[in-house]
Amino acid sequence: MIVDVLVLGVVGAILGLDTVSFPQAQISRPIVSATLGGAFMGNASVGLMCGVLLELFAHETLPFGASRYPEWGSASPIAGAAAAAGAAVGSVPMALLFAVPFGLLTASVGGWSMVQLRNLNARLAHRRLDALARGSARTVVGLQVAGASADLVRGGIVAVGAATIALPTVRWIAVQPAPLAPYAIPMLAALGGGVAAGAAWKMFHATAGTRWFGLAGLAIGVALVAALAR
C-alpha cells in the first residue's frame, strides 16, 4: 500500500500543478484525473464512474481568478483510485459512496491549501519587490520556479494525506454488508445531476436564446434515455 500511496502522491502533485500553475490543460478535471487514478488501481471504468460523478459537481465550482474553489487535481485521482480499490475487494456502490464525498472533501482541503500557497507566494513577492523594481531577471524567474515548486509539493502533500486515509478506509467499507447499497449510486447520480443542471442554468441563463437550446437538449436527452434505458 505504501507504494500505491507514494505513486498516487506523485500523480496528485502533477495533476494538482495543472489546476493553476502549469499547464492548465485541464488534465486535473475529475473526468480525466479520477479515471487515471482508477486505471492506476486496475479499474479505469470504476475510476471513470467516480470521475463522472465528481465532474457533475465540478460544474458548480469554476476557477475564477482570486476566488476560492475546490482543487480537483490532487483530489480526483485519489477518489478514483479509492473507488477502484474498493471495487476490487467488495461492493462498487459502497466504494463510490465513500470515494465521491471523500473526493469532494479532499478537493475542499486542496482549495484551502491553494489559498495558503497564494499567501506564501505573496510574501515571497513582497520581499522581492525591490529586486523586481530593479528589473532582476533572476528574481522574476526565481519567483515563477518557487511558486510552481511549492504548488507541486502542496498537491503532493494533499494527495499523499488523502490516499493514506482513503485506501484502507474504502477497503474496509466496501466489504461491509449494506442492504441499502443498491440505492447508493442512484442517490449520488441524483445529487450530481441536480448540481450540474442547476450549475448549467446559473452559467448560461443570462445568454439570449439559451433556454431554447437547453430545452432542445433536454428533449433529445430524454428521448435517448427512453429509447436506451430498457
Binding site: T61, G65, G135, L180, L191, G193, V195, T207, A216, A229
Partner: protein, 254 residues
Amino acid sequence: MAARVLPLATRLAIVSRLFAVQASWNYEILIGNGIGFCVEPALRLLPGGAGGDAYRASLARQSQYFNAHPYLASFAVGALARAELDGQPPERIERFRTALCGPLGSVGDRLVWVGLLPTCSFASLALFGLGASPLVCVLAFLLMYNAGHVSLRLWGLQMGWANGFGVAAALGHPILRMGPVWLARAGTLLAGMAVPLTVMRLVNGGGIARTGVTLLAAAAGAGTLVLFHGRVEGWRLALLAGFAALVLFLLRHA
C-alpha cells in the same frame, strides 16, 4: 509602426512560458510577475541585450501588478513585447498595461471558464452517457478543450504582437465577441442532453423506472439550487449528504 518579426526562438520561448504564466499567482501582484516572465525573452532583443539598462527598465515595468485570464494574458504579452521593442514611452506602456487588465479578465472568464470548459465537459459526459469507454471520454474531453485552449494562447500572442497598442480593437474580434454566446448555447444544448444520459448510465441496470425516479430527484435538486441561487452551494450539500448516507448505510446493517 514599423513591420517587425519576432525571431522563432524568442516566440517559442514566450509560448512555452505562457503555459506557466500563473506559476507565482499571489494576492500581492497577481500574475504581474508571470507577465514579466513571459515577456522577458523578447526584452533580450532591446538595445544593450539581456541585462542592459533598457532590458532592466522594461522588465521592471512588466513585472508589476497585472490581472487577466491566464489564456488571454497572451494578448497582453504579445502587445507589451511589441510596445517595448518599438521603444514606446514608458508612461504610455504603463497606462496601456493598466487598461488591458479588465477586458482580458472578463472576456476570458466568459469565453473559457463559462464557455469552453463546461461545454467540453458536458460533451464528454454525453459521450459517457452514450456508452463511450474511459479512453474515449478522457481523450474527447482533452482534445476538444485543448484545441481551444492552445489555439487561444497562440492566437492571442500573434494578435498582441501584430497589433501592439491596437490590440484593444482586436478584442472586438467575432471569436471574442460572439464566442461566449455560441459556447453558452452549445453548452446548454449539451447539458440538456448530458445530464439525463449520464444519470441513465450511472444507474445502469435499473431500467427506465429507476432512471426516471433518479432524474426527477435530480430535477427537484436543480430547481432548489436555482431557487436558492447564491445562498446555497450544491457540492457542499452533496458532501454532507454523501457522508450522512454512508454512515446511515453502514449503521442500517449494524
